[in-house]
Symmetry: C2
Subunit: 153 residues, 2 copies
Amino acid sequence: MTSTADDPVTLMNTALEQLIPRAHQMGVEFVEMRPGFVRARVPFEGNGNHFGVVYAGVTFTVAEVLGGAIHFATFDVSTHYPLVKSLSIDFLAPGKGPLSASASLSEDEIARIKAAAAPGVKVPFVLEAEVVGEDGTLVARTRGDYQLRPFGR
Amino acid sequence: MTSTADDPVTLMNTALEQLIPRAHQMGVEFVEMRPGFVRARVPFEGNGNHFGVVYAGVTFTVAEVLGGAIHFATFDVSTHYPLVKSLSIDFLAPGKGPLSASASLSEDEIARIKAAAAPGVKVPFVLEAEVVGEDGTLVARTRGDYQLRPFGR
């Protein structure tokens, strides 16, 4: 995969250090971003707990940041920003190494959100993510309620 | 409040750096621990995001660690350990400063869990937490499904 200074993955990884310093410090890194699909990963190092598995708050984070990333990859960042309203996470298996989280929005859902995103309107959308280990083990599943919000008032 | 080397708050704070280094790095600190009640806090510094509010993953963490703390304060740590199975979090207001999270278990619920905690038995319990700002604003509410698990097999 080639990467230039203005591709969305590079831009978003550069931005993350400023946007969410604590997530950057965990080593969260975006690896795939295109309209309707995003993927991020996080290393094991520094993120383990006393059971030798990735700490729950880190697993939460690598999945939660996908809301901002899919917004950046899919919608108009000059007029709207995303906000997480609630998130539920099911821990399904211990994360014993680096984790990868991915989430997608269907073309129909993207069209619905874009059509609804009039000035002054908050548009709710649901983003479900899967967090997997290097061997494909499903470590966690999340369901987040986000809002696409217009800038200003 | 006086604090000695062997009080549970001091012990738990000393342990956190080893147990969950990433939570310690966020500045998560336990401030009250007694059977059936625990409280932790986290500073704003280093934990903000680009909106100037505490990042969601930090709010999650200061609430989630209460599961381990209430176990330590309430149950037998020599025979059982706690495990989080799922957690849902509602973000109700922006956290614009340091946050404090608290959770409690009723005497009846403690009695139920202790009675059920036979060797070889996993005992599910629910822990609800509230995360508030310094002015008492309710910033987030969590509901976690935990298990009290016996060591060994």
